[in-house]
Amino acid sequence: MDSAPLLGSLYVAVAWLAIALLALISPGNAFFARHLAFPLGALAGLALAAFGLQAVWSPAEQMTLPLGLPDLPFHLRADPLAGFFLMLLGSVATGISVYASGYFREETAGRLALIGLQYHVFLASMAFVILADDAYLFMVAWETMALSSYFLVTTDHRQPAIRSAGFLYLLIAHLGALAILLCFGVMHGGKGDYTFDALRAAGLTPLWSTVAFLLAFFGFGAKAGMIPLHAWLPEAHPAAPSPVSALMSGIMIKTAIYGMVRVIYDLIGGVRWEWGILVLVVGAGTTLFGVLYALMQHDLKRLLAYHSVENIGIILLGLGMSMVFIGFGHPAAGALGLIAALYHTLNHAVFKGLLFLGAGSILHSTKLRNLNDMGGLIRTMPKTAFYFLIGALAISALPPLNGFVSEWLTFQTALQAPVLQNGVVRSLLPLFAATLALAGALTAMCFVKVYGIAFLGRPRESGNAAAPAGGYGHDAGNMERFGMAWLAAGCFVLGLFPTSFLLMLNRVGVSLTGQGLSNEALESNWLWLVPTAAAQASYSPVIFLIVIIGVTLLAFLLVRHFYHGRVRFADPWDCGFPDQTSRMQDTADAFGQPIRHVFGPVFLMQRHMPAPDDRAPRFSLKIEDRHWYLLYLPVARLVGYLSSKIGLLQRGRISIYLLYSFLTLIGLLVFVR
């Protein structure tokens, strides 16, 4: 069949919808929702990944559904870009769905039915966002996605914090959606035709295309979580059940990247370098802000959420560089930047999904989410600890895992700067690369903190009821472990065989920018990752891994062969101070202390230090986001002020009301005269 990938993807999306409905229909004992829905959803995801992969390598194809507006039936299209994101969605959703089938198993029937419904509607709407080929279907899918995820976030709606998080989330999502809607309004040529084909053909003036770009950037940025529109993200992601956090952080915010690429590269077209500079500046700010605030967190899921902000910043850096290069007429370098950004998108989906799942397993088994209460989990949850370590190393951009590859590609893009003619811009790009370097190192620091505090050391608050002296909880169940293993394998595959993905992304780049990587890059085999030319840069993760394992093993064997393997066990050295307790270990807050010291002005801190004579000394620290005070609260106050002023219009006096009518009448009559 000709339209296999598109039709197949459509079937998968419909299958998800069907699962959603079936989950709702059998609420009695929720057998379906409990045992079948999520595994079936995972299978569908696997199929979607395959179709997406096929779509990348097939020519673009379109179809219409007999639904939608008059004159505007739903248009669907599968092209390489969509195919890539479908693959991302499908493959990551597979792991998360398997995990979810274990995670949600103990929910009550009613809740489970609702979760099953919302979860699969969420998945289906994301698929439709990617498949949409007209503005209307796109918006419908986009907002359905927001709505279904909102309900998932508020699953535990009895907690006020979760309610307000959900509200904030939906509000910002809606504002962003309005901006996107207006962006489509700008692009459509007044012919009432909202298909993407028509929008592509619109031919805007530079002014209007810049307006469209700004609207799209704002609208999609709100969903992606770039500053200063990120405020919802660290609230909503921790509030949601962990598989949902993983979906949101792993996939949903990537649909915003999809939207950005689709609208800016494909629909508006004619990318200008000034746009790229804006994207770079925002991206750099987002990156640094995200990682610095992540370092300050002690709520594990919140910390991960801030890292999502950071990684969106990294993706934006790649996109921005790409736009700068394209704007200056260097599509090859532009394609490289785009590829780097998209590759990071995929990588982030995989490792952030993995990390959120790991956090979910911790939460599930210990009921803890505050790092300061954890410790020593590696002993009770060794398997989770292993998977989490892989995720942590991947997000810290350490070779040979996947996070490194995409950051490496981004650096390579920045190093193309000498081709630019504009001296200022040329010297700016390395600065953004410096930001990326800084963020990478800070991320590593943050994950040393997370891993060291949560999994290593000894349990901290042993007074905690959930924390028996020997440690907490139990390891994750089989399904949960399988889900994590799937994504952890993804980290390895993406890290070790980047060339095949590079070639795939090259097709995406060619389809969007008209030009791809150099021939030398394309001819390199699976072993060698060569972005431009072998003399310029190359990287072979497989060899890298083999050597590092080989050398490590060699060292081990040599030591064992020439010497002995004798080991004695003892208490840790107490420095001559025998009364140490596990509470004296470093806490998450303490770990961030140097950063607070160095970057003090960035944070809004409220600290309470114990006095020397305190009976029960406590240290408390509250870090707040300055954006609240600089942006959100002023806006809220302005709205409050305006509405209080407007409220004065209506003071209950009928005479005044009559006067309004009277004045309106007189005013209009004067106007008519």
């Binding site: 639904l67 939608g68 507006l69 008059p70 739903f74 503005a135 209307y136 918006m139 419908v140 899918a141 986009w142 907002e143 359905t144 927001a146 709505l147 508020t154 709606h157 009895r158 006020p160 309610r163 959900g166 509200f167 939906l170 509000l171 809606h174 504002l175 309005l178 901006a179 809607l181 207006l182 489509f184 309004g185 700008v186 459509h188 040529g189 007044g190 009432g192 909202y194 709205v639 409050g640 305006l642 509405s643 209080s644 407007i646 409220g647 219009l649 209506q650 009928i654 009301y657 009559l658 309004y660 009518s661 309106t664 009448l665 209009l668 009559l669 106007f671 008519v672």
Partner: protein
């Protein structure tokens, strides 16, 4: 024939219910009559869709796609509201807020109100249209004060005075229209017949018509609830019984807007410039913005949704003001989905406030826990009215916004701000009401929630799929008024 049925059934129903007095089965009769009206309206619709526009009874009545669509909508919402009011008013009676005399008044006036609505829509005579619209005020004013509380009396008084005065201005507009028409059509009965006016609209005197339009806009606009003429609206919605709020928002405002749009068509014919359109866009925009800011300070749940009606009437007025096939289509669609959604919201709101014994939003909590259907109905309805896809309200807002962006891009920042503020306001208030721990008690009668979900299902359907015949129908209507 069908016209006679559509008009006769509610009139008969009103008389019967008034004469017989309150009986135990009065709510059922009310619902049955409304159902019969709906059936007749469906017949009429089928006929018009098949045979095209027609006039009847010495041209005093006429039906075209525009008004038959509203007749069908009116009859449908009238019917579902009657279904809803059956348990609702029983619970009110159980709570001792109404007695049988007032129920008699309520049921008969409900039918008479339906009658005036249908009359207003079907009348070919602009004068009778005015009379019917004033009749609608008269028939609902006593319903607003049904509870005889100080607040409800105050609300009804304001409603009565403001609407009567407003509509008096419209009468002046009608006189001016007649004055202009007489020049062309000669004195006598035909000069006020819309079908005739429509044919000669290009020959009407522009000065007079522009003046007439001002009076008509102020007059009918008062009933539409355009800012700053809207002040009666929140009070009347908040203090009357909920079924009345539902029909006020769902039907009366639509019909008043219908009158404005009809006037606009004539004025546009007479004037070259887009005079009426600009005025309507201005009023629409003002209503949207002001109502959005009002929304964020509400404490009373019905009052809040009343302001939401002001906002949505503003959007429709803006859409019709823009004109053109897309915007007019969007306006008509918005009329449909707004009246369905808003009445559905009022149904849930009614039961919610009965369950919690208050209309104060700070005291309503945890509806999803205590009664999932009411809670989900409210939250889905609110999301729908806020323009969340895949509900149909989004469809029309999509068309309005994108058209506005293209043709009147200056207006879009205002719309954007207003929609954002409205979203924050309404959703920020609805969310705590549906989530969290509950404050509700049991109801003595099972609530009627089927209408809620029927309405929402239709709105949902219109969001993803508009049946072709409906599209045709809208298109024909849009052509008439675009």
């Amino acid at each position: 024939m069908e016209i006679a049925l559509v008009l006769g059934i509610p009139l008969l129903g009103g008389l019967v219910l008034a004469l017989v007095g309150h009986k135990r089965w009065a709510p059922e009769v009310n619902a049955a009559m409304s159902f019969a009206t709906f059936c007749a309206a469906a017949l009429l619709t089928a006929k018009v869709v098949a045979d095209g526009p027609m006039v009847a009874l010495e041209e005093q009545f006429f039906v075209d796609p525009f008004n038959v669509f509203l007749v069908a909508l009116t009859a449908f919402v009238g019917f579902t509201t009657a279904l809803f009011s059956r348990p609702y008013m029983r619970i009110e009676e159980h709570h001792g807020r109404v007695n049988s005399a007032r129920l008699r008044l309520y049921h008969s006036m409900y039918q008479l109100f339906s009658f005036t609505m249908v009359l207003c829509l079907l009348s070919n005579n602009v004068g009778i249209l005015w009379v019917a619209l004033e009749g609608a005020t008269l028939s609902t004013v006593l319903l607003v004060s049904l509870y005889r509380t100080p607040a409800s009396l105050e609300a009804a008084w304001k409603y009565f005075i403001l609407c009567s005065v407003g509509i008096a201005q419209a009468l002046f507009g009608v006189i001016l229209l007649y004055f202009a028409a007489e020049k062309v059509l000669g004195p006598g009965g035909t000069s006020l017949l819309w079908t005739h006016l429509y044919e000669v609209r290009h020959q009407l005197e522009p000065t007079v018509l522009s003046l007439a339009f001002v009076f008509l806009l102020v007059g009918f606009g008062t009933k539409v609830g355009l800012v700053p003429l809207h002040n009666w609206l929140p009070d009347a919605h908040a203090e009357g019984p909920t079924p009345v709020s539902a029909v006020l928002s769902g039907l009366l405002l639509n019909v008043a807007l219908y009158a404005v749009v009809r006037s606009k068509v004539l004025v546009d014919g007479a004037l070259d410039r887009n005079f009426s359109g600009n005025l309507m866009m201005g009023f629409g925009l003002l209503s949207v913005v002001v109502a959005a800011f009002f929304l964020s300070r509400q404490k009373d749940i019905k009052r809040m949704f009343a302001y939401s009606s002001v906002e949505h009437m503003g959007i429709m007025t803006f859409a019709f003001g823009m004109g053109g096939p897309v915007a007019a289509f969007a306006g008509l669609l918005h009329m449909t989905v707004h009246s369905l959604t808003k009445s559905a919201i009022f149904f849930t709101v009614g039961h919610a406030s009965q369950k919690t014994g208050t209309q104060n939003m700070d005291e309503i909590r945890g509806l999803i826990e205590s009664n999932p259907t009411i809670g989900w109905g409210l939250v889905l309805g609110s999301l729908a009215i806020l323009g969340m896809p895949p509900f149909g309200v989004f469809t029309s807002e999509f068309m309005v916004l994108t058209t506005a962006m293209h043709e009147h891009s200056w207006a879009t920042p205002f719309l954007l701000v207003a929609l954002g503020v409205a979203f924050a306001a309404i959703f920020g208030k609805v969310q705590p009401m549906v989530f969290g721990a509950t404050t509700a008690r049991r109801l003595p009668h099972p609530p009627a929630l089927i209408p809620v979900f029927v309405h929402l299902a239709i709105v949902l359907m219109l969001g993803v799929y508009i049946p072709p015949y409906l599209v045709d129908w809208y298109r024909q209507a849009a052509r008439l008024i675009g």
